[in-house]
Structure formats: C-alpha cells, structure tokens
C-alpha cells in the first residue's frame, strides 16, 4: 500500500529567489492491486508527483509510506529494491546498450530470449528486430518509449508508475498498450499508477486523481470522476486524444 501524507515540494526560483510550490499538500492512499490514473492539465505537477514517489525528487514537506515503511528519505535504488518502478515520460537513450541488456538490467538478471520477446510484443514491437539493437539515437522516440514501458513490465514490482505512456505512440500501438495494461491489472497483483490524458486509459482505472496547480482538485472512483471530468476538461486537456498525445514536463 502506498500512502502520501501532506506531501509538498518547493523549489527556489533562480530568477527572483522566491520559493515556487510545485506540489502542495497532497495526500492519498493506493491499496494493493489497485489501478490509479493521475490526470490534469499540463504543468500541474503530475510528473513531479511520480518522481517524488520514485525518489528522484525528495519532498520538502510531508511523508511517503510504502507497505508501512517510511520511504520519504530513501534513495531511488532502495525504493526500486522495495518493488517500486517508474517508466520515464522522456526515457534516456544509451549508446552501446542493447534492448536485451536493458530489459535484463530491469529484470535484475539475464532474461531468456523468449521472455524478452514477449515483453516487446506486448508493447507492439516485433521482438526479433529489436533485441540486439542499441537503445541509442537510431531508435525513434516512439520506439524508445515502448522499450521503456517493456522494461517496467520485465520487472517484478509491487508498484509500477507509468508517466504518459501514450506520448509519442501511434494509434495501433496505443491499442496494443491499452490491452497490455488491462492484462497487467488482471494478471499481476501490482498496484499501478498511470499519468495520462487518455480517456481509454482512464477507463481502465479503479480510481482517478485530478492534479492541477500542484494540488489534488478531485479524487475518487473512476465511475464517479470520469463523467464530470470528460465534460469539464475535454477542451483543456484533450482527454479524448483528438489533438494527439503531447508531452509535458
């Protein structure tokens, strides 16, 4: 179970020296095996929240608990060892590291070829073309993004966080991805957090949280939240994905 208690994150604005609140007093609980979608306008603090849970950023206020342990001051790798994983919104590329090696590093030991292939197939990549390719600039943004998602699927996690998995992914692969997430939530007892603007991904959720201006604007069961959201945010957030997926920081 993941618990955020009054989490805040403030940075100093270098231009004027004033404090800037990126996340303000966020509290929520995610039960084991639940599927949570975090949505909201660009720049609202969604990715920062994910990075706070993974430990890439440290909260300036509040507490984060995972399965009863206070992880607020734990390093990234300590949290990873507890079973938390994070698929970056803009994954880095690695010169000289093959797709197979990356998936094996994610898994924690050498992955047999057939397992690598099954993870790649789930994200819509033809595995034989990719296993021995390097995760470098020869791959397109969409390919790197799908490999990033596959690397999280290759891990044995208690909590998986996907940051806008749909960004840069074409429609065909997106359908495949939705199918994979559906499978993930039914097969594994993993808690999943997905940051997304896509209605089809929200449809998979047990719960939805809307983050805007660093605060929780609304939270609740999907069936409660989604109908109102679709009307309210459609124009602003492109919830139906009509404008195509766009990245935010």
């Amino acid at each position: 179970m993941l618990e955020l208690k009054n989490v805040g994150f403030t940075v100093k604005n270098e231009a004027d020296g004033k404090n800037l609140e990126i996340i303000e007093d966020v509290s929520f609980t995610l039960e084991d095996g639940k599927f949570l979608v975090i949505t909201g306008p660009n720049g609202g603090g969604k990715s920062t929240l994910a990075r706070l849970i993974m430990g890439i950023e440290k909260p300036t206020k509040g507490q984060i608990l995972y399965n009863g342990t206070d992880i607020t001051n734990m390093s990234i790798d300590e949290r990873a060892k507890l079973g938390i994983g994070y698929a970056f919104q803009q994954p880095p590329r690695f010169k000289g590291l093959t797709v197979r090696r990356l998936l094996s590093l994610a898994h924690g030991s050498e992955l047999p070829e057939d397992e690598c292939c099954s993870y790649l197939t789930r994200v819509g990549l033809c595995s034989m073309d990719y296993l021995n390719r390097e995760v470098d600039s020869s791959l397109s943004g969409g390919e790197v993004k799908r490999i990033e998602i596959a690397s999280l699927m290759a891990r044995d996690l208690g909590l998986a966080i996907y940051d806008e998995p749909e960004a840069g992914i074409d429609l065909w692969s997106f359908q495949m991805l939705v199918k994979s997430f559906r499978m993930l939530s039914s097969e594994k007892n993993e808690s999943v957090i997905i940051i997304s603007h896509q209605e089809r991904i929200m449809q998979l959720a047990d719960e939805v949280i809307v983050i805007a201006d660093g605060k929780i604007r609304t939270q609740g069961a999907k069936d409660e939240i989604l109908p109102t959201l679709l009307g309210e945010f459609d124009r602003k957030c492109d919830l139906r994905g009509e404008k195509g997926a766009e990245g935010n920081a």
């Binding site: 390093s75 990873a80 880095p92 690695f94 010169k95 000289g96 590093l105 690397s151």
Partner: protein, 307 residues
Amino acid sequence: MLDIKESNLLKAISDVSFLPENSVYNLRKNGLGVERKTNEKVQIENKTDKPGIDIRIMPDTKNETIYIPVIITESGVNDKVYNDFYVGENADVTIVAGCGIHNSGCNESRHDGIHRFFIGKNARVKYVEKHYGDGEGTGARVLNPVTEVFIGENAVCEMESVQIKGVDSTERETNAVLEAGAKYIVTERLMTHGNQSAVSNMVIELNGEDASAQIISRSVAKDSSEQVFYPRAVGNAKCAAHVQCDSIIMDEAKIRSIPEIAANNADAQIVHEAAIGRINNEQLLKLMTFGLDETEAEEIIIQGFLK
C-alpha cells in the same frame, strides 16, 4: 610455455590464454621473439636491418587468424619493433595484435610498435589491437604505436584499437592512404584514469574515386587523466568520410577533441561530429530505478559506451 602472469596478459590483449595450435602466430616477450608458427599461406620472417618481422599473406588466403602479441613482464624494458604486413590480393584475414605490460618494478617499461600494412586489391583485413597494463610497481607503462596503412583498390580494412586499463602514457599515430573503392573503418576505444595521458593523431587520405572512411572514437577520461584526439580526413577525390568523436568526461579529467576535415575535390563528402560531456544524469537515474546504486549505474553506462 607461458606462466600464469604471462598468460593473463595474453588473455587481456587477445582473448586467448594460449596461442591456438591451428593458427599462425608470433609471440614477442621482453623485446625478443620467443614463439612462432607459420604455414604455406602466411609466412613470417625476421627483418635483417632492424628489430621486427615481415608478415606475408599470400593472395586468396581466406579464414586465417594471425596472432602477433607482445608481452612485457620485466621492468625497464624499452622495446621498439617494426612489423610490416603484406596482404595479397583477394585475401580475407583477421590479425590480432596487442601489447600487455606487467610492470612490478620502478623503471619505465615501454613498447613502440611501428606497423605498416600494404593491402592488395580486393583484400579484406580485420585488425584488432588491444593495449593493457598492470603490475604493482611505480614504473610507468608506456605504449606509442605507429600504424601506416596503404589500402589498395576495392580493399577493405577494419581496425579496432582498445586501451581500457593500465597504460600510463600513450601517443598513437595512424596514417592511412586509400585508393579507388577502398574502405577504411577505424574504431578507437579508450579509457584513461589516474594521471594517465593519451594522444591519438590520425591522418586519412582518400585518394581514389569512391574511397570511403569511417572513424569512430569513443573515450572515457576519469580522475586527472588527459586525452587529445586529432583525427584528420582529407578527400582528394570523389569520396566519402565520416569522423565521429564521442567522449565522457569525469572528475578532474581533461579532453581535447579536434576533428579536422579537408576536401580537395568538389565531389568529396566529408562529415565530422564531436561531443564531450558528463554521463547523462537521466541515464544514471533510469538505471537507479532498476535498483542499481550510482557507482554500478556509472559502470554499466561506461561499459556500454566503450563496448
């Protein structure tokens, strides 16, 4: 017979702990040739006017691997050797060279290999050269290789040089001349640490029509080490060349990278790219989210980069 120390050096530079029975080889140890094996397709003879050997590969020789390792285990050895390779037309061979120095004394141990390659028409040569140093002594381990390559019409020469560990000072000179349709691919991988210094100068002259060259340099400089790269590609005909220098800089290290391209013909297409930078922070963070600590993540990034 090699002792364990010698066999470890051999393994570090040529990936074999002993020289394979069915291959052609010439092993040089502490400044002297100690073991040699030849066959009817590959002849090796001592030079008469200076230290070194002539390696003659007959035309049409296929699937031969030739080992010419050099190992130095005595402190204070200063070895300079001239090796000439004559590769016959249509031959297709692999040459594994390299030098390993174990210096447990306080005097400098040094090996300067001056290698010349005369590659005949339509031949293919893969040349792999690894440099390695170890030993607990304070004496420096110095390697200054000079490589000259003459690539005949439609011949292909692929050269890979690797220096990952333990060489205190190195100055490498590489000169290549390409005739029509010749292809030259050079990959240089280098890691320096401590107070080591490495300089690599290269001049590639593309003289024949449709000659092509690809120069790839990947390096990592750690601690207070220093590196200088100066690859030059000169297009004198309708030709294509690509120079790519990529370096990771760490700690207090210094790197200079000066790729130079010159065209003396309007149909020469020559491109260069050069980049020096720290390890990308996002790469480190990504690997840490897999449960690796910062040092482990750094190692994996460097290993991949120098692979």
